[in-house]
């Protein structure tokens, strides 16, 4: 029996990241293998933990034995656990995908794996932590490693993208830090549960100011319009698997943090309206812009933003169905968008210009990759019987139950736009003659397996959504039941204060 | 009697430009020039482009069998100056070849094809130089003066014998009505 404790999520990859150069000194291939074992362990641990976890018994780990609110604690609840598991499993899959992918030499590989480990650490940390300052720390870890990953190829474009990312990320950091300082001056604690309890003491104006700072700061990570200028560049310049990391982990962690502060810490009604409006705007603008893109990865990046907008919309309903739909969407988006980015990196690798117009006839040249790309595209636009359909359906049902017919119409109109640009790519892949014969880099076995696994997940969830709905329902309950969360972390505190 | 200014100007322009052109102003609004067969396209083009003889009225061929020559006649008309310009040239009857001008006036093609078929004049690079009016013709070109149409007719077609008394129809009529054949008609009589 392996010891399963959420602390390993943080400790293990962090430690490995720092020790990896040493391993590299010992035996060079170890730098690839060791992270794999770490990710495998994390994924395995996630499964073990998720089996037992219920909304009413979150696992709370106190770091260094300090009890909250004085010490930092990690909370592995149904919701955070679900996202953490998702991230760790995605981490493992991306490692498996990129294990042999990098042929860039020892130094670059070392950097790549260290940064990958750090990103995973940061993302999981954001998800699991119960301390607002700790969250900021993890956010910085994620951010910095993400900037570095963006510029991994050390090209001009990569550097530019990383710079943009850095610039805007700096805004995010400073705003969040400012917000935390303000918050600390008001409530005198950094524990999120206690903040939540004490929030009503804060003056409304200051509360709103803090909220806005948080909102903008996390909005940047969550790819909210107009704070998402870094996204297209970062996604398109980073190495292929890293784009998947951004879509599957960083963005998820960002939206997670945003949702946590909205749902847990602030009890502002306007926050939900704001989230709804921003979600709608983000979604519409991103999808419309995606339609006009010529480079495949930029298109996917904008599509990713659009999906994030949809997730925001779903969260903004503040109902059980809405949250359910949103979490389902997060899951689907992580899986499907990762698949799309992973396949795309092969497609784009084999073209000269990275443009969609260069993809003619790839269905014949790279049958597996094209097929999986098509599958991903079908899934993400929400065609049944693939998993994307169900999440979209739940969003619509949630919207319908809120009597938001206009929102439904908007979501569906945007879906039409989505269909147009995805099907444009598919029709090029399959129904055009290839212009010239270029030697093709075939996907290696491990990457193929990873992509097939993702594809199978998409199909099986699509055909039998009940596979995943149970977990998501638990997660929903866990997120919405704020009092339970507080009670579990700080037993009795609520009564004391009130 | 007008001054024939434009006519003279035209003639002058032509003779000055081309050495081998000479001609006269025949009457009002008509200029006749003769030239060499080699420079015919040049003269025509000059007349068309510079002297505004934009209208190609007609083109024909004359068989001067005595001189062993074909004479080709091009008739142009200037709608602006209201002058007719007749350009003539002669070619050898034994070797009747001349440059075609259907790239100057498309409609000249029809005339050229007809002349080709009827006189046997070859036009270099003529578009559609194939059977035109005559079908299945296997004799010498019929408009040449050495072609005997009577002989051809009696050889190929069935001459119907006249009536049994073989009298001229005029004689029969005069006999019937008791009148004399008028003098002017006598020379046509078969008897």
């Amino acid at each position: 029996m392996v010891i399963a404790d959420p602390i390993y999520y943080i400790v293990l990859p962090l430690l490995t990241a720092f020790l990896l150069p040493l391993f590299g000194k010992l035996y060079k291939p170890l730098i690839g293998i060791i992270p794999g074992f770490v990710f495998l362990f994390l994924a395995y641990m996630s499964v073990i933990l998720m089996i037992d976890i219920r909304p009413d018994n979150p696992i709370i780990t106190k770091i260094a034995g300090w009890t909250p609110p004085f010490g930092i604690n990690l909370v592995f609840s149904s919701f955070s656990g679900f996202i953490a598991s998702l991230i760790s499993i995605m981490g493992f899959l991306i490692w498996a995908y990129s294990y042999k992918f990098k042929k860039v030499g020892f130094d670059d590989s070392l950097k790549y794996f260290i940064l990958l480990l750090l990103v995973v650490t940061g993302s999981i940390g954001i998800v699991l932590t119960g301390d607002i300052f700790n969250l900021f720390v993890f956010l910085e870890i994620t951010g910095i490693s993400a900037y570095a990953l963006t510029a991994l190829y050390r090209g001009r474009d990569g550097a530019e993208a990383a710079f943009k990312f850095l610039l805007i990320g700096a805004f995010a950091s400073s705003m969040i830090l400012l917000a935390i300082i303000l918050l600390y001056t008001q409530v005198g604690t950094l524990n999120m549960a206690e903040i939540s309890v004490r929030m009503h003491e804060v003056d409304l104006k200051i509360k709103v100011l803090i909220f806005i700072l948080f909102f903008v700061g996390f909005g940047i990570e969550a790819e909210m319009f107009p704070l998402n200028g870094w996204v297209p560049d970062a996604y398109s310049q980073a190495p292929g698997p890293i784009a998947a990391v951004f879509a599957g982990m960083v963005a998820k962690a960002g939206i997670y943090a945003l949702v946590r502060i909205i749902y847990l810490m602030f009890d502002l009604e306007g926050a939900f309206h704001l989230l709804l409006i921003m979600g709608v705007i983000t979604m519409i603008i991103a999808e419309v812009v995606a339609l006009r893109q010529e480079a495949l990865r930029r298109m996917l990046a904008y599509s990713s933003i659009g999906q994030m907008g949809l997730i925001m919309i779903a969260f903004s309903f503040n109902t059980e169905q809405g949250v359910f739909a949103a979490i389902f969407l997060m899951f689907n988006h992580a899986i499907i968008k990762s698949l799309l980015f992973l396949t795309t990196s092969f497609l784009v690798y084999n073209t000269k210009t990275k443009l969609i117009s260069d993809l003619d006839g790839f269905g014949k040249k790279m049958p597996l990759v094209s097929l999986l790309f098509g599958l991903g595209a079908f899934a993400i636009v929400g065609l049944p019987p693939f998993s994307g359909f169900w999440s979209k359906l739940y969003v619509l049902i949630a919207a319908a139950n809120q009597h938001m017919e206009v929102i439904i119409a908007l979501i569906l109109s945007v879906s039409v736009v989505e269909i147009i640009y995805y099907f444009k790519v598919i029709s090029r892949l399959y129904f055009r003659k290839a212009s010239e014969e270029i030697p093709i880099q075939k996907p290696s076995l491990n990457s193929s397996i990873v992509m097939i696994v993702l594809g199978l997940i998409i199909i099986s969830v699509g055909v039998y959504p009940d596979l995943i709905t149970g977990l998501i329902e638990n997660a929903t309950t866990s997120l919405l039941n704020k009092d339970l969360y507080i009670e579990k972390i700080l037993p009795g505190l609520a009564e004391i204060i009130n | 009697m007008s001054e024939q200014i434009k006519e003279k100007e035209t003639l002058e322009a032509l003779t000055k430009t081309f050495e081998k052109v000479n001609g006269i102003v025949q009457r009002d609004k008509r200029v006749i020039v003769e030239t060499d067969a080699e420079i015919i396209p040049g003269v025509l083009l000059y007349a068309k482009e510079r002297l505004k003889f934009t209208h190609f009225s007609h083109m024909s061929c004359v068989d001067w069998i005595e001189n062993n020559q074909f004479e080709l006649v091009y008739i142009l008309w200037s709608p602006e100056d209201k002058i007719q310009l007749i350009i003539k040239c002669v070619i050898n009857r034994e070797k009747p070849i001349i440059q075609n001008i259907d790239n100057i006036w498309r409609q000249a093609n029809t005339y050229e094809r007809e002349i080709r078929e009827m006189f046997g004049v070859e036009f270099e690079g003529l578009i559609g130089a194939k059977e035109f009016i005559l079908e299945d013709w296997d004799d010498i070109p019929p408009m040449r003066k050495d072609f005997d149409t009577k002989e051809y007719s009696s050889k190929h077609f069935f001459d119907r014998p006249g009536r049994e008394d073989a009298k001229d129809v005029r004689t029969v009529i005069t006999e019937r009505s008791g009148e004399e054949i008028p003098d002017f008609a006598k020379k046509y009589s078969r008897d």
Partner: protein, 614 residues
């Protein structure tokens, strides 16, 4: 023990997979699998189980129920008859094409989708099957790789709009009714607020009418019908479009039955009628046989929409009857044109000519289908049209009847054009060595032709299942004779007399004209015509083909100036320009993005009172 309905889908899905694999191995093996799979599914459908078989399950917290109602059974039967014939035809038609595995995979999936739609008694599985049908048909539409951007995307956009309208309606039903079972929806629908009822109704109608190519939502159809391989178009136009009709029937008769929606009925009836008229006009001016038939399909579907939208007993009956017949004759026509295409390599009516002596059987089946299409009495098309007119007369839709009658008359124009241009006229030396289509292509055509001939004289054969279906829709006492048509006022048409009389006179006259001067009646070639004594040279073809209906075109030119296509194009261009403008928000400038962040932050601060209600 596997459920019989599930097994039906399983056979289809299995055939899809197996034919894909089979075609990867060898074409013959694949073809055998295709034919066996298609026919076994069809046979299983007809003899394998009793109609009331049921299969209920829960998927993602929604109740789902599969079962054939007597109404949906008609449409399922339509699919089950037409699709194996089309697949049999396809084995020969598609010979030697690339990626046959993919083609047949999608073909089977779309059949599965159609069967699934008809067996779904809940909206969620209906929608899932609907979408499966849509994307599999999309993949076939662009299969040949022609006009992928234009036709394929257009089809997909309109399908998506339709499907999403449907989805929105379904979601709203779920909210109001709390269940997605179709029966529940019917039962609780009248209790819903009127405006919501209206919204749901319109959404569902839009969703369904897009598939049945109703103007102004038809623009995808001509391209999609003519672009896919003809063997699929036979099913596409014959059966797949009927899924829209199926849905329209459900919505009009069962859902919007309260009598407050007559305006919608009228609007849809008029839309159907105008669809018919305009599509017929467009069919007349086409020069490509496929395009012509595509427009003709739209036109014929217009009649059916009119019938469904009017919603009286007779009109529904007419609509279903016409739907069945349309499947038969349009399937047959597309197959025949496909045969011409296969044998000559073209369907351009200005090029292909004089095939009657080369492909007599193809001509025969085209002729029979055209007679049915043009609703000329001895064949079945007349019965459907007759019922439709009678229902319109009885329900006092005067001008509607004029419009569709005019369209029906105008349909003669293109009917003749397609027969004349392809099969009649002078023979072309280029097509000297053309052979009759191969047997797998002929058998389906001949079978469908026989079906049309029989149903013309004895429409009662079809009336029985239709009457069953009508019971599901709430018309209980439908009672029709084998071949006697009676309208609301007691006037009747006795088809048996008609057929007998026509048959007799035809035979008598035939004997007379054939025996008279039999020895000195000769066949001469079509080059031997009186053209002022001139002899057409072998390479000269005097058939009058180009601008065949130019005078008619001139006469109707005022209404043809602005097409729906051009309107949509204008909208599309406008949106494109707008999108291009929006695109420049992402300028790619880092400082700009930073500025956005600051502006956004400041804006939020400024608007905080409005947002947070301070």
């Amino acid at each position: 023990m596997m459920n019989s309905l599930f097994l039906l889908l399983f056979i289809l899905f299995g055939s899809a997979i197996l034919s894909y694999i089979g075609h990867r191995i060898s074409e013959t093996l694949g073809n055998i699998i295709v034919v066996v799979g298609a026919f076994s599914a069809s046979i299983w459908f007809f003899v394998g189980f009793e109609t009331p078989a049921e299969f209920s399950y829960k998927i993602a917290d929604f109740d789902a129920l599969w079962s054939f109602s007597s109404y949906s059974w008609i449409f399922a039967a339509l699919v089950s008859i037409l699709s194996p014939l089309a697949l049999l035809y396809s084995t020969s038609y598609m010979k030697g094409k690339e990626r046959l595995g993919t083609f047949y995979f999608n073909f089977f999936l779309s059949i599965l989708g159609m069967i699934g739609i008809t067996m779904s008694q809940d909206f969620i599985s209906l929608f899932i099957f609907w979408e499966i049908m849509t994307w599999s048909s999309y993949l076939i539409v662009i299969y040949l790789g022609k006009d992928v951007e234009k036709v394929g995307i257009k089809y997909m956009i309109f399908s998506a709009i339709g499907a999403y309208a449907l989805l929105m309606g379904i979601v709203l039903i779920n909210r109001e009714v709390g269940s997605l079972l179709i029966e529940d929806a019917f039962a609780y629908f009248p209790q819903i607020q009127f405006s919501t009822q209206l919204l749901i109704g319109i959404l569902l109608l839009i969703g369904f009418s897009i598939k049945s190519a109703m103007m102004p939502l038809h623009v995808w159809a001509p391209g999609a019908y003519s672009n896919s391989p003809m063997s699929y178009t036979a099913v596409f136009s014959g059966a797949l479009s009927k899924m829209g009709i199926y849905g329209l029937g459900l919505v009009f008769i069962r859902l919007l039955s309260s009598g407050e929606f007559t305006l919608i009925n009228e609007i849809f009836a008029w839309a159907g009628a105008i669809t018919t008229l305009m599509a017929t006009f467009y069919a007349i001016i086409q020069d490509d046989a496929k395009k012509l038939l595509a427009y003709s399909s739209i036109g014929q579907l217009g009649y059916i929409i009119v019938g469904v939208a009017i919603g009286t007993e007779l009109s529904i009956m007419a609509a279903i009857y016409l739907a069945i017949l349309h499947a038969a004759f349009k399937g047959n026509l597309f197959m025949a044109i496909g045969a011409v295409e296969k044998q000559t390599g073209s369907t351009d009516m200005t090029l292909v000519t004089g095939l009657i002596r080369k492909m007599p059987l193809t001509f025969f089946s085209t002729l029979v289908s055209i007679i049915a299409l043009a609703a000329v009495p001895p064949l079945g098309g007349f019965v459907g049209k007759w019922m439709l007119y009678q229902s319109l007369l009885a329900s006092e839709h005067f001008f509607l009847i004029i419009v569709i009658f005019t369209a029906s008359t105008a349909a003669f124009l293109y009917s003749f054009k397609i027969l004349y241009s392809l099969f009649l006229g002078q023979e072309e030396p280029e097509f000297k060595n053309i052979k009759e289509a191969p047997l797998p292509m002929l058998i389906p055509m001949i079978l469908l032709s026989l079906f049309l001939i029989v149903t013309g004289t004895f429409p009662g054969i079809l009336f029985e299942p239709i009457a069953n279906g009508m019971k599901y829709l709430g018309f209980n006492d439908v009672n029709w004779n084998m071949s006697l048509l009676v309208n609301a006022w007691g006037d009747e048409v006795n088809l048996q007399h008609v057929s007998m009389y026509i048959g007799t006179i035809f035979i008598v006259a035939f004997i007379f004209i054939s025996l008279k001067n039999r020895k000195r009646t000769r066949y001469v070639t079509t080059k031997d015509i009186s053209t002022s004594g001139e002899i057409p040279l072998p390479h000269e073809n005097l058939s009058f083909k180009l601008n065949f209906y130019k005078p008619f075109e001139r006469a109707i030119s005022p209404v043809m100036k602005k097409t729906m296509d051009s309107i949509y194009d204008e909208i599309g261009n406008g949106l494109n320009a707008l999108f291009q403008f929006i695109r420049y928000i992402y300028s790619g400038n880092g400082q700009g993005y930073a500025l956005y962040v600051i502006i956004f932050f400041v804006l939020l601060l400024l608007l905080k009172n409005q947002i947070f209600g301070l």
